[in-house]
Amino acid sequence: MQKYLQSSLDEVQTKSEVENLINTNDKAIICCGRNGPMCLPVYGAFEVLKEKEKYSDIKFAVMPFDVPGASIIRELPESRLFMGLPFTIYYKNGKVVGATSSIQNVKSIKATINECFS
């Protein structure tokens, strides 16, 4: 499979891949974006957090914003007002428990993780 995003995280591209990911991981985060300056820092933060013991129970993934399958994220009620990349969706037991739009720093990402998964 061709990867579109400049990230070492697993890349999902279809609705079924998203569904499989969130149904097989209790805690999952999908960052849906492009290769722009607002998205890369969020992918980068997730790449680092993925390696930390504290976050080892979370599945981190990225998804290209422009693939047809991304409608599963773009059309979520939680992303209805989002107009800034990336759209980052937090899933717990297959359900959306948090969502952010645009660039986030590590501090706010950690705060959202704590809020969503604690």
């Binding site: 933060a45 645009s102 720093n105």
Partner: protein, 311 residues
């Protein structure tokens, strides 16, 4: 607590250059940065065309990836996406704590935290970030195809980003606190203004942002009449320059000037012993990738020289 010969704070070109020289000089080196990947603001630069050794333009991300790889190849360690939660630079043996967890100590600290896009910090700005308020035309401009937007900013970046936005949007309204003059280069301003769908609202200072249905409302004061006006648009893009990332140093003992930059001597040494400042955070005339890497080189060689003299 792990001890290093030098701890570098900031993984932009200045910090990475310092790491390359220090690590190649057999010093143990730790680089800490609150963001990831490494690369500072340069990693967001579309194309770099004036860095020596690259006759074809290279993306900022690719250039800084190469720098990062080079520093790691010499043994430099990196802690990226790490938040500095405490530190002490005043004592002989300095220390830094990250993520309320790990502590590192060193006799030598290099500050390379650079600059970042300035925010207005007005009510509503954080709340509507990504859903009406934006900072990147390339990233978010196409969400507003055919829409009417506002832009705050009057410098070169504001004009260049607006040219990109004009490929998508129906109209741009500039809201400017100034009186009929823009700081940006005239040729870029002319390109923007030549679009028939650009208007200027002069002498208005934004105060806060609200939402009205799908629209964003910019509440601004007319500086001539003191009247408060509500400017309703589909979105607002803010491009108001850069600011030094020095707030975290306010209790460090490191001298910071009134604009937030760190004065140093010609060898990048601050007022504190064995604390250096390099790159865009340092007071200097020209901020370029080449001048940043030069600063990193100087600070690293200075530390290597001091260490070899003390042996």
């Amino acid at each position: 607590m792990t001890k290093y010969d030098v701890i570098i704070i900031g993984a932009g070109p200045a910090g990475i250059a310092a790491a390359i020289f220090a690590a190649r000089g057999t010093l143990s080196v730790l680089v800490i940065d609150e963001s990831a990947p490494a690369g500072g603001t340069v990693k967001n630069t579309h194309l770099v065309a004036n860095y020596p050794g690259f006759p074809e333009p290279i993306s900022g991300l690719d250039l800084t990836k190469r720098m990062f790889k080079q520093a790691k190849s010499f043994g430099a360690k990196f802690e990226l996406a790490a938040e500095i939660t405490d530190y002490n630079f005043k004592d002989e043996l300095k220390w830094i704590e990250i993520d309320d967890d790990e502590k590192f100590e060193s006799e030598n600290i290099i500050i390379a935290t650079g600059i970042s896009p300035r925010r207005l910090n007005l009510p509503g700005e954080q709340e509507f970030k990504g859903s009406g308020i934006h900072y990147c035309a390339t990233c978010d401009g196409d969400f507003y195809s055919g829409k009417d937007i506002a832009v705050i900013g009057a410098g070169d970046t504001a004009m260049e980003e607006s040219l990109l936005l004009l490929k998508h949007v129906n109209s741009i309204t500039f809201i400017h606190h100034g009186f009929h003059n823009l700081r940006a280069e005239k040729c870029t301003v002319d390109q923007v203004m030549d679009h028939g769908n650009v208007t200027m609202i002069w002498s208005h200072e934004s105060q806060k942002f609200e939402r009205d249905g799908d629209k964003l409302v910019i509440i601004a004061e007319n500086l001539d009449t003191k009247e408060i006006v509500r400017i309703k648009r589909d979105a607002l893009f803010i491009f108001v320059g850069m600011k030094p990332n020095s707030e975290w140093l306010k209790n460090s003992g490191v001298n910071i000037n009134e604009r937030g930059y760190i004065p140093t001597d010609k060898n990048c040494i601050t007022n504190l012993k064995n604390v250096y400042a390099i790159g865009d955070i340092r007071v200097k005339k020209f901020n370029q990738i080449t001048t940043a890497t030069a600063d990193g080189t100087i600070a690293a060689l200075e530390i290597i020289q001091k260490k070899s003299c003390s042996l």
